[in-house]
């Protein structure tokens, strides 16, 4: 199920080993092993409640796993966090930002927090706001941004320190098509220059269009993983997804009163 053997012993950009998380008595993530090859555009698919956010949170070191660990380019996120987190950029879920700061303030804060040079922060912030079409909104508080703008400023924060691996939680959720296209372009350019992207989603079209690799997550376990073509096996990705996850299809008999 691991697909990294095309170019022999290349270190995966992100490697999850036996990640497990239990909330009270409910198992949210039941021992996940996954390799995200360097240079891949990796889609993490799964229905609501499959454990996508939990897995990614543990992978980037903000949620402590009950067991297992994660490696970013060979550095253990939990025992060698400094090295791992330097190479890592994260777009968190909506609302996981200091949204009472303006866009520029948030970028400056993120950069300084990571110990970057002020001049470098200024230059990169200007570039990022420009490219993302947020230059005019730089002085508006992030809390007043639209969903698309919030995703974009989050992406800018994640990219500011030029990480080698980008971890994105639902980057296309509640984003208008124009912003989504822009985010897609930027991510594709990033992968072309040698970066690695892993993102979670439940939108098949986006994943099919963008990804080189996919993994399907359900009930806290990896149900299928590999290159897009291997997982698809000549079929429609949505078909494979519904079959793997085990959804039901309405027959038309139910809800007759509607």
């Amino acid at each position: 199920m691991v697909d990294g053997e095309t170019t022999a012993p290349v270190m995966p950009a992100l490697a999850l080993r036996g990640l497990t998380k239990r909330f009270d008595s409910k198992v949210a993530v039941a021992g996940i092993d996954l390799d995200v090859p360097a240079g891949s555009f990796f889609g993490l698919l799964g229905p609501n409640g499959a454990g996508k956010t939990t897995t990614l949170s543990m992978a980037v070191g903000v949620l402590r796993p009950d067991a297992g660990t994660a490696f970013v380019l060979g550095h253990d996120v939990w025992s060698d966090p400094a090295e791992a987190k330097r190479r890592l950029g994260v777009l968190p879920d909506e609302g996981h930002m200091f949204d009472r700061l303006s866009g520029t303030e948030l970028l400056a804060f993120t950069g300084l927090l990571r110990g970057m040079e002020p001049t470098q922060i200024d230059a990169r912030a200007r570039d990022l706001l420009d490219v993302l079409g947020l230059a005019d909104a730089g002085r508006t508080l992030v809390v007043d941004y639209s969903s698309g703008m919030k995703k974009k400023i989050g992406l800018a924060c994640a990219l500011l320190h030029a990480p080698r691996l980008l971890v994105l939680d639902e980057p296309f959720e509640a984003v208008d098509p124009v912003s989504a296209a822009l985010i897609r372009d930027i991510l594709q350019r990033y992968v072309h220059t040698g970066g690695t992207v892993i993102f979670s989603s439940h939108v098949m079209e986006v994943v099919e269009k963008l990804c080189t690799h996919v993994a399907i997550l359900a009930d806290g376990a990896v149900k299928a993983a590999g290159t897009l073509d291997v997982v698809r096996a000549g079929r429609d990705l949505e078909e494979v997804f519904v079959e793997v996850v085990g959804g039901r299809i309405a027959t038309g008999q139910e809800l007759s009163w509607l």
Binding site: L63, R64, F98, S102, E105, G115, C157
Partner: protein, 551 residues
């Protein structure tokens, strides 16, 4: 299709169910809840016994105690939520916005549900002492009147706390009203002072007549009226009793109407945080974040970034602003109130200007200790955004130091100013170094205690439009954490305060200033070091604890 309107009973049942669910399978919360309930009931029982025992005293004393205690209850219910606990918003009015419920029905239901919880029950138990006392003194009819009065008084207090906090929340949401709200708040907080003054007067010798005079006035205000009922009934003045009932019920109805009104606007309000200052300043992103005066003082880096962010958010985040305004006002009023009520034993107003050292020092200590209360749950203000600290691996100690410094920069000037003003106005300039030394010690210790509490016992704030809201059940217990931290702070800085009181005439005032400052600084450093280490190890747990639960 006709829809049956829910009854008050349904709201009560919903509240009980929600409290129960909140406790289910959460051992720590259950333990906290039980401890809070038991502690509250013990306290309430003691108060009950104390009040019941007053039946042995003269009628006048009984009257004064009943009215003053009653006023304290109502005033306490009105004001304390603004400062410490927040109101119990287990039932968030916004959740009812989509349901076809009439405004009056909603307000009545929310009121009924507000009686469910530890604080109302404890208050009711404590004030039952007044009923017992009235019964022992005048017989069953007066006891019945006292019972009516007690329940009416508690209702008034609860409604007042709801109405005031919703109104303040609305005020603090709008930018134009912010300053007005601050003034209103200070006026309210100042109203504690005359009461305190009366009590200390009553406690002093031979001023019972004076206290009785004050009590007679209070008994015609909504605060005390309910508690004077049995005394009217006992002397057969049913007309007076009816008038007092009318005062209390009128106030309840009026507040209820006002509350229902603000509830409605709160239900549909979207709290926009106000936009950032849109000046010119094209000096780049870093210049945007760090204000000009700060940049020469602090090197741009993680510390400066957190400091600058905190300074901005204390004003921009409605919840923080509400806390900050309350605490600053309280720390302005407390030294003044305590200094002046403590002076000239028993004959206030006519003492000869000599500022009582004990009162002054206690006032300064209380003011300084207040600052820490704001930071006892500091990570909850960040919520899930705290993840960005973890992602950039900020050192815990540095993080805590930056947060404490930002708050100190905001509250210390006001506190220094008021302590200085008290000294200058009373002509007791020699006390100034003492006051400042005690202030420095308590601020330092307070922020240190808060650092430790905040990493050990963080909890999520409700995602709610009302900045005073707490998720109660566990909330009132968590609110106690702030109070506990305050007590610990005062205890730990007691050496400096006692030293200041003992040595005030020994010409060593400046020594106290130096020692106090060093003590505060050292205590804060030590606490930050410990708490920072905990934070470095428990960062993800803290994040998980302060993440708002999704509805």
């Amino acid at each position: 299709m006709a829809v049956r309107q829910p009854r008050a009973r349904d709201f009560v049942r919903l509240k009980v169910r929600m409290l129960g669910n909140g406790l289910r399978s959460q051992t720590m919360r259950t333990v906290g809840f039980v401890l809070g309930a038991v502690g509250g009931l013990v306290g309430g029982g003691l108060a009950l016994t104390g009040l019941a025992l007053t039946s042995a005293a003269s009628d006048q004393t009984g009257y004064v105690v009943a009215v003053l205690a009653g006023t304290m209850v109502v005033l306490g219910w009105t004001l304390v939520p603004l400062l410490f606990f927040g109101v119990d918003e287990t039932l968030d009015p916004a959740r009812f916005a989509l349901l076809p419920i009439r405004r009056g029905v909603l307000a009545r239901g929310m009121l009924a549900a507000a009686f469910v919880g530890v604080p109302p029950v404890v208050t009711l138990v404590a004030t039952m002492g007044l009923v017992i006392a009235a019964g022992l003194r005048f017989g069953p009819v007066a006891a019945a009147a006292a019972l009516v009065g007690t329940v009416a008084g508690l209702s008034l207090g609860i409604v007042a706390s709801r109405a005031l906090t919703s109104a303040f929340a609305a005020l603090l949401r709008s930018r134009r009203m912010r300053d007005l709200a601050a003034v209103l708040m200070s006026l309210l907080a100042t109203s504690i002072a005359p009461l305190q003054w009366t009590i200390s007067a009553a406690a002093g010798s031979g001023s019972m007549a004076q206290a009785a005079g004050v009590a007679r006035v209070l008994a015609w205000t909504p605060f005390g009226a309910a508690y004077a009922l049995p005394y009217d009934v006992a002397i057969g003045r049913w007309d007076l009793a009816c008038a007092r009932v009318a005062i209390v019920l009128g106030s309840v109805v009026l507040l209820l109407w006002w509350w229902a009104h603000t509830l409605e606007s709160a239900m549909y309000a979207s709290s926009s945080g106000g936009t950032a200052r849109s000046g010119a300043g094209s000096g780049g992103a870093v210049a945007d974040l760090m204000p000009g005066w700060l940049r020469p003082l602090v090197r741009p880096g993680p510390y400066g970034a957190i400091l600058a962010r905190e300074l901005r958010l204390w004003w921009r985040d409605g919840r923080r602003r509400a806390g900050l305004v309350s605490i600053v006002v309280a720390s302005l009023v407390l030294p003044v109130a305590i200094s002046f009520s403590g002076r000239g034993g028993g004959t206030p107003g006519v003492s000869r200007g000599a500022l009582a050292i004990t009162g002054f020092i206690i006032g300064a200590a209380m003011a300084g200790a207040m600052a820490g209360v704001l930071l006892c749950n500091q990570f909850a203000y960040d919520g899930s955004a705290f993840a960005s600290h973890l992602l950039s691996r900020v050192k815990g100690a540095l993080d805590l130091r930056a947060r404490a410094t930002a708050l100190a920069l905001l509250v210390l000037p006001a506190q220094v100013l008021v302590v200085t003003a008290v000294c200058v106005v009373t002509g007791a300039r020699s006390y100034l170094p003492l006051g400042l030394g005690v202030l420095a010690a308590t601020v330092g210790v307070g922020l240190g205690v808060a650092a430790i509490v905040s990493v050990i016992a963080p909890f999520a704030l409700p995602q709610n439009a009302n900045p005073f809201a707490t998720n109660s059940g566990g909330g009132s217990v968590k609110g106690l954490l702030g109070l506990l931290a305050l007590a610990v702070t005062l205890l730990l800085s007691a050496p400096v305060a006692i030293g200041a009181i003992l040595l005030h005439s020994a010409g060593s005032a400046w020594l106290i200033l130096v020692v106090g400052a060093a003590y505060g600084l050292l205590a804060h450093r030590l606490a930050t070091y410990i708490a920072g280490d905990v934070l470095d190890h428990r960062g993800p747990q803290v994040l998980a604890a302060v993440m708002p639960r999704r509805g």
